[in-house]
């Protein structure tokens, strides 16, 4: 059975063009970029080109790009660097809906004596900006707010936030893992000091990420070792993956138009049809300020894991914010922060599309999902006479 993969906010397939560019670096082009000989030097030159491609995607300068192993490493590096650079400041700010890479790091820092402000969101998942601005003070070391949310797809106004935070002389970082490649990211417009991105969300392989560090930002390395990455990250470069990330960024830039047109159109068709054909269904998150590829749909009175497993029987791959899928007992912190009612939170399914999805696949999902929900509702004690009791 061919999978119908609509879980692209979790990870994406490596583009064949990306893989092709990477392959020589696993075999004949194995030189160490730090070597003096031209065999290694040629590899260093390719890394330089790759860095330029990554920079171009986000309108940055190549020297502002640091290659890391993943989005999580980029986040940890950024936050720790800001704290080390501002040793007297003991207050840090983030949102209540961050990815665990930030959320758990901040919770951890709270235990080591930092005062943490978690900025709330409203029922549409939009950030309470007044709350954020109110809590900026002389003790604030860093503000880290994600560019776009992985579950709801809701986009935060990072340009405005960066401006307000910078005006107070506070370091601003944004986790843009879900935004890069889906919406325009322009570091000339957005005054963030640091930005995290990840390769495997944009058709590069897993195990490669990047951190943008604005020129002039105080920095302190997370991995201490050799002089690689201009002394900002020790460790021999993951050459093939860096080459892959460069190619993926190049492709993402040229495919960006597709996101706001073809892919958005498929996403809209999927969600509009599902909320029309399935009663007692709601969209989680603001429908305007949102990534073009993502929809989070709450099917009331059914449970997410059951939906996922029934979709799995047809090869449909999606994800859920329900409790049971994660092994925890409560729905995701994002849905809870938005105050999504329990009736819908447990039955929330996220579909996230990529350039590889087709109209036919969307039609197939539209055909298969409504009977699944109907079947599960017939099993449910809360569902009587085709409506809730």
């Amino acid at each position: 059975m061919k999978p119908i993969y609509v879980d692209n906010n979790a990870t994406t397939r490596v583009a064949p063009e990306v893989l092709e560019e990477m392959l020589p670096y696993f075999s004949e082009l194995y030189g160490n970029p730090s070597s003096m000989h031209s065999f290694g030097g040629n590899v260093a030159r390719m890394i330089k080109e790759s860095r330029e491609k990554v920079a171009k995607l986000i309108s940055a300068k190549p020297e502002e790009i640091l290659f890391t192993a993943c989005g999580t490493e980029s986040d940890s590096t950024a936050i720790r660097a800001a704290l080390i650079s501002n040793p007297d400041r003991k207050h840090i700010i983030t949102s209540r809906v961050e990815h665990p890479a930030i959320k758990n790091l901040f919770e951890n820092l709270a235990k080591t004596g930092y005062r943490v402000t978690f900025v709330p969101v409203d029922s549409k998942g939009l950030l309470d900006l007044d709350y954020l601005y109110m809590h900026l003070d002389d003790d604030t070391a860093i503000v880290s707010i994600m560019w776009a949310n992985n579950e709801s797809g809701v986009i935060f106004p990072v340009e405005e936030i960066a401006q307000a935070v910078k005006a107070k002389g506070i370091v601003f970082h944004t986790d843009a893992v879900q935004a890069v490649g889906k919406v325009p990211v322009d570091m000339k417009k957005v005054q963030a000091d640091m930005l995290s991105m990840s390769g495997h969300k944009i058709h590069a392989p897993k195990g490669i990420g990047a951190l943008y560090i604005r020129k002039g930002t105080k920095f302190s390395p997370f991995l201490i070792g050799g002089h690689q990455e201009s002394g900002r990250r020790g460790g021999t470069e993951n050459v093939s993956s860096i080459i892959g990330l460069g190619k993926a960024c190049e492709m993402a830039l040229s495919d960006l138009d597709q996101m706001s047109t073809r892919i958005k159109k498929m996403r809209d068709k999927l969600e509009n049809t599902l909320i029309k054909t399935v009663t007692n269904t709601m969209i989680n998150g603001d429908r305007e300020q949102r990534l073009p590829n993502t929809t989070s749909i709450g099917f009331e009175f059914v449970e997410g894991e059951a939906i996922l497993l029934m979709m799995d029987e047809f090869g449909i791959c999606a994800s859920s914010g329900s409790a049971c899928t994660s092994g925890s007992l409560e729905p995701s912190h994002v849905l809870r922060a938005m105050g999504v009612p329990f009736t819908a939170a447990h039955g929330s399914i996220r579909f996230s599309l990529s350039t590889y999805n087709t109209e036919d696949e969307i039609d197939f999902i539209i055909e298969k999902v409504p009977p699944i929900i109907k079947r599960l509702r017939e099993l449910s004690p809360f569902w009587k006479n085709n409506k809730c009791e």
Partner: protein, 276 residues
């Protein structure tokens, strides 16, 4: 992705005995929408007192649906005395096995069965005995004690997997650990009995101790103390009078006030001065 056995998948994808029995002999409802799973179990007896028909409705994940389906198959044709011996382990083994994190699904089946039997026997729904330990999922100390005893559980994580307690905010972890410890040490000599105070009792006792013991002692030196707040085991106070400007006030706070409160109220208390 969970590792479900073929039998779990089969009972999930092709659940047996779904539905409602009109005029049932016994009905048991457990769980809620908020908790993420719920089960209503129905049965009807034949003239010999054996379960002639059983049906269920379940809201929940694959293992919750499979456990309910399995349960209805297991109890058909049995007498109530026989079914009352069914444990959550029996339901899990009927399905091959359940992932550890999903054992609460089998517990939910057992609970629904017990409720349905009491319903038939006309027993008044048992009032929630004991004290709610886990506020997030409404689990009492009795539920936890039973799960620990019957399934030989040894960690808080185990308890969460079986009865959900401790799976929310985590505030009750200490109490759960106390229950596990007390079950495990049941055969050993009884520990010194510590009287657990409720919040109100604790605050009252703190106030009394301050008034009766601590304030008079401080006043002798021209000082005083004011209770600002009690947050769990943290007692927030403000030093007044000469104490407020005394360079040794921290020593007074820790060595006298805190140790007095620990002695007379509870040994785990921490006294802190309010932040200026």
């Amino acid at each position: 992705m969970w590792e479900y056995t073929e039998k779990v998948k089969d009972h999930f994808l092709n659940p047996r005995n779904v539905g409602v029995i009109e005029n049932p002999d016994g009905v048991g409802e457990v769980g809620s929408l908020a908790c993420g799973d719920a089960l209503t179990l129905y049965f009807k007896l034949d003239e010999k007192g054996k379960i002639e028909d059983a049906k269920f409705q379940t809201f929940g994940c694959a293992s919750a649906i499979a456990s309910s389906s399995a349960l209805t198959e297991m109890i058909k044709g049995l007498t109530l005395d026989e079914v009352s011996k069914i444990t959550n382990e029996d339901i899990a083994s009927y399905l091959g096995e359940l992932p550890k994190e999903k054992m609460h699904c089998s517990v939910m089946g057992r609970d629904a069965l017990e409720k349905a039997i009491s319903h038939y026997r006309g027993e008044k729904e048992k009032k929630v005995e004991g004290e709610i330990v886990c506020e997030c999922f409404g689990v009492t100390d009795i539920d936890i004690r039973r799960a620990v005893t019957e399934n030989n559980l040894s960690t808080i994580e185990d308890v969460t997997d079986y009865v959900k307690a401790g799976g929310g905010c985590g505030k009750c972890h200490e109490k759960i650990q106390d229950i596990i410890d007390s079950v495990q040490s049941k055969d050993k000599p009884v520990k010194k009995k510590v009287i657990k105070l409720t919040n109100i009792q604790k605050i009252k006792l703190i106030e009394e101790t301050l008034e009766r013991e601590i304030k008079p002692a401080l006043k002798k030196d021209g000082g005083n103390i004011e209770l600002i707040d009690v947050d769990g085991n943290r007692i927030i106070v403000k030093m007044r009078g000469t104490c407020a400007s005394c360079s040794k006030s921290q020593i007074t706070l820790k060595h006298y006030v805190e140790s007095k409160l620990r002695e007379l109220v509870a040994p785990e208390l921490i006294v802190e001065e309010v932040q200026q």
